[in-house]
């Protein structure tokens, strides 16, 4: 198995995440799309770390990505809960109060 297979899997994950972010109207679904995109980036980092001279640096970067994704999920869920408390829905189309 060479580098291309891992990059293909990463591409599929990335596209699935982008489509999930774009089409889901549930706020939690958008968050899951973000997780998929970050996981695709992780997979590419680890694949390049294995097959090229990137070495340990790629794995360190993917560790940081995992940590920051956890932090991002915590904050985004807090925002979603706060939005739900105020609007009694989590439809992202309803979040249009800043619309001019």
């Amino acid at each position: 198995m060479d580098l291309n297979c891992s990059l293909f899997v990463g591409a599929v994950l990335f596209v699935a995440g982008v489509v999930c972010m774009a089409t889901k109207r549930n706020g939690i679904g958008v968050l899951m799309g973000v997780e998929l995109v970050l996981n695709a980036a992780n997979l590419n980092f680890v694949a390049f770390a294995n097959y090229t001279r990137l070495g340990l640096d790629g794995q360190v970067f993917s560790l940081f990505v995992i940590v920051l994704a956890a932090a991002e999920a915590a904050v985004a869920l807090a925002i979603a809960l706060s939005f739900y408390n105020n609007h009694l829905t989590i439809d992202v189309d309803k979040a249009n109060q800043l619309q001019g």
Partner: protein, 205 residues
């Protein structure tokens, strides 16, 4: 087909299938379930790519932590009977076209690069001297075994580039980003607890 290739194919298909099922399913609880499947299978891919510590962290942090958080979010924001989260068929069609073109673009880009040449070009840097006396574990150094070098790198010592001071002087580890990430986690979790706190309504007497 060797066992490694077979395992890689199984994990890759599970990862891609889980991601597609996340996109295609409409129920948010099923989306969370398929996300668990996809992320767990990609942890298997990490193990196959000799990144054992990253795979373990993926299983612990993502599948154990983030997904539980997401499921709690699903539970706490139960949608009412009037909310309709279905996407319209036209939107689904357009999203499918855009997704297919994006995927084809990336696949053609990956195929058009001669990765062997790229790898050979990047290999002309400084030689790696693996300090086996520090980096050895129970397995061969070719098969994962990255927990100790990763920990040393996060402390600022690059075991994989040799521990003698000559080669290590200009190769600074990741101590500062590690500290920044830890402070970032602290600030973020305090902020999340502040945002998601139960608000007391002021009761007029």
């Amino acid at each position: 087909m060797t066992g490694h290739q077979l395992l890689f194919s199984i994990f890759a298909l599970t990862t891609c299938g889980g991601a597609l099922a996340v996109v295609l399913s409409q129920n948010v609880v099923r989306m969370a379930f398929w996300l668990i499947i996809s992320l767990g299978a990609s942890a298997g891919l990490f193990f196959l790519l000799n990144a054992d510590f990253v795979g373990t962290a993926q299983l612990l942090v993502y599948v154990g932590g983030t997904l539980v958080l997401l499921v709690f979010g699903v539970m706490l924001t139960a949608s009412g009977p009037f909310s309709d989260f279905k996407t319209r068929p036209g939107e689904t069609f357009m999203a499918g076209i855009v997704a297919l073109s994006l995927l084809l673009m990336m696949v053609f880009t990956v195929c058009s690069v001669d990765w062997k040449k790229v790898v050979a070009a990047t290999n002309q840097g400084v030689p790696i001297s693996t300090a086996q006396s520090v980096a050895t574990g129970f397995n061969d150094s070719e098969e994962g075994n990255t927990a100790r070098p990763l920990g040393m790198a996060l402390l600022g010592i690059r075991v994989d580039h040799g521990i003698d001071s000559g080669a290590n002087a200009n190769r600074i580890g990741y101590l500062l980003p590690f500290e920044i990430a830890s402070m970032h986690l602290l600030v973020v979790l305090i902020g999340a607890a502040y945002l998601a706190r139960a608000k007391r309504r002021v009761q007029e007497i």
